[in-house]
């Protein structure tokens, strides 16, 4: 008698043979599934890169204090000493307007713009780190600083982080939703492809039943077919996402550089890749199972 493994091997081989018999059909099916999966997979790729970016950017919330453009250096020095002595302030970093100008000029994209300006558009500024960095405490400090003389603008940098956080949450929900929706689509695709396969092999199924085949024996090659379809589609999606990551790497890197950040867009990591392939294979299997249940229940 043949072992369990050998029976599965034979079924998998038969499924492969059926895929290979109609290469154009199989390829188009894989492409359809791959593109459907590439959307949520691509979303996940962008999301995990954004998460990484948020993690490496200033995680410590800060308060930026900008002086009025016409404020003299003396006024700035006064504010600096006042900030240094103020309770709740942990650290103060002075950013002289000349320095800021020089730094911005170093950016090739901005140099041309700055050079046509008649005067230095940047004010003196301070970056303040608070001892208590909870949003309410930071907000209180900001309100206080705004009332000081020659202070034009106070900005809570934590607001930016919080906004990014909210955006990422939204992104995660969107990826999940997209995954669920297109996952259901994949089940439907697999269902109808397997249905076609079952109809094509109807005689074979009937004859096998007459010769004493169990439902398990009959289903096995079709289930493998579904799994292979899903898996192949997953690989196509993985390749598409990898190609997109490579292609977007340079332009996205330049974009985030404008915000003083660095990002090297990475394709899906090992865990996400495994999830993608497992998800794809599982859904292919599910579509095949539903299709077969429906067919075998008819008789």
């Amino acid at each position: 008698m043949m072992g369990w493994l050998a029976q599965h091997g034979a079924a998998a081989l038969l499924a492969l043979r059926r895929l290979a018999i109609a290469p154009v059909n199989s390829l188009l099916s894989l492409l359809a599934i791959g593109i459907a999966l590439a959307l949520p997979a691509g979303g996940q790729m962008l999301l995990s890169n954004a998460l990484h970016l948020a993690g490496t950017s200033s995680a410590v919330p800060q308060i930026s204090v900008f002086m009025a453009a016409n404020a003299e250096r003396r006024a700035a020095t006064e504010i600096e000493s006042r900030l240094g002595k103020y309770g709740g302030v942990k650290q103060v970093q002075f950013l002289a307007r000349e320095e800021t100008l020089a730094r911005m000029k170093a950016n090739p994209g901005l140099r041309d713009v700055i050079e046509v300006l008649p005067a230095n558009p940047f004010p003196d500024a301070f970056v303040v780190t608070a001892t208590d960095d909870r949003p309410e405490a930071m907000e209180k400090l900001a309100i206080e600083f705004r009332q000081w003389p020659k202070v034009e603008h106070v900005q809570l940098d934590s607001a930016w982080v919080r906004r990014l956080d909210a955006l990422l949450k939204l992104g995660r929900t969107a990826v999940l939703l997209l995954g669920a929706l297109l996952g259901a689509g994949l089940v439907a695709i697999s269902f109808s492809i397997i249905r076609m396969q079952v109809l094509t092999h109807r005689t074979e199924i009937e004859v096998s039943q007459l010769l004493g085949a169990t439902d398990g024996f009959i289903q096995r090659p079709f289930l493998y077919y579904g799994v292979l379809l899903g898996l192949g589609g997953g690989v196509v999606a993985w390749l598409l996402v990898g190609a997109a990551a490579l292609w977007l790497r340079a332009p996205l890197g330049e974009l985030v550089q404008l915000y003083d950040l660095t990002l090297v867009l990475e394709a899906l990591d090992a865990r996400d890749s495994a999830v993608l392939l497992g998800f794809a294979a599982g859904l292919g299997w599910l579509g095949a199972t539903i299709s077969l249940q429906q067919h075998l229940r008819q008789r």
Binding site: M2, T203, S208, Q209, L210, A213
Partner: protein
């Protein structure tokens, strides 16, 4: 081996193919079922292989009452029965070898042993040299013999054949009949539905007429 106890079979919408049929086939017996077209010969064989279910009475095969048979037990009954179908039911996209291999794959035979058995069965029906051919490349008689090889490859104790000599010339029909005699001689219970009962001398005859057994 086989017992029919007041069996009837009514096909929807209400046609009685078999009525009140009672008979017994003993182990190692060879029986020919004859009768006009539409008499119910195929239906009788299908009841034994549980392809159809009786609508009245009891069909027992090897002591097992088929009306109480669970769907999950069906495959194992069929593996003990070899059946040559009236329409043969060959797979035309598989080679001669693969057609005969199918019952063994289903039963879970090891590929090496299965291959030996397939070759032995093909040898028995005289198709040893055609194992790589597709069924369409065979003559009618060869296809008939291929169907027989597939039915016997699993060495069933019960062999059912529905018109195995139809459409064959006298000589080929005699060849095919001889194969059944050989299986009968080695102890297989054989039940053949045929018009050509003269090809099976020595077999007991069951004569059907409009679904009833003639005395």
């Amino acid at each position: 081996m086989i017992r029919f106890d007041r069996v009837s079979k009514r096909y929807p919408p209400g046609l009685d193919a078999l009525s009140d049929l009672s008979f017994v086939v003993a182990e190692r017996e060879m029986v020919v079922v004859s009768g006009h077209s539409g008499a119910g010969k195929s239906t009788l064989l299908k009841l034994i292989a549980a392809v159809e279910k009786s609508t009245g009475g009891a069909v027992l095969v090897g002591g097992q009452n088929l009306s109480g048979l669970a769907r999950s037990a069906l495959p194992f009954l069929r593996r003990r029965i070899g059946m040559v179908f009236q329409d043969q039911k060959l797979l035309f996209d598989r080679t001669v070898f693969e057609n005969v291999l199918l019952p063994l794959s289903i039963a879970g035979f090891h590929p090496r042993e299965a291959a030996q058995r397939v070759r032995a069965a093909l040898d028995k029906v005289g198709l040893a040299s055609r194992e790589k051919a597709l069924p369409v490349m065979l003559s009618g008689g060869e296809q008939q013999r291929l169907a027989i090889a597939r039915a016997v490859v699993n060495r069933p104790s019960l062999l059912l054949a529905d018109e195995p000599t139809a459409h064959l010339d006298q000589e080929t029909a005699e060849d095919v009949a001889r194969i059944f005699h050989e299986f009968h001689h080695v102890g297989v219970t054989v039940l053949i539905a045929t018009y050509a009962s003269e090809l099976f001398p020595g077999a007991r005859r069951l004569q059907l007429d409009h679904g009833r057994l003639l005395p």
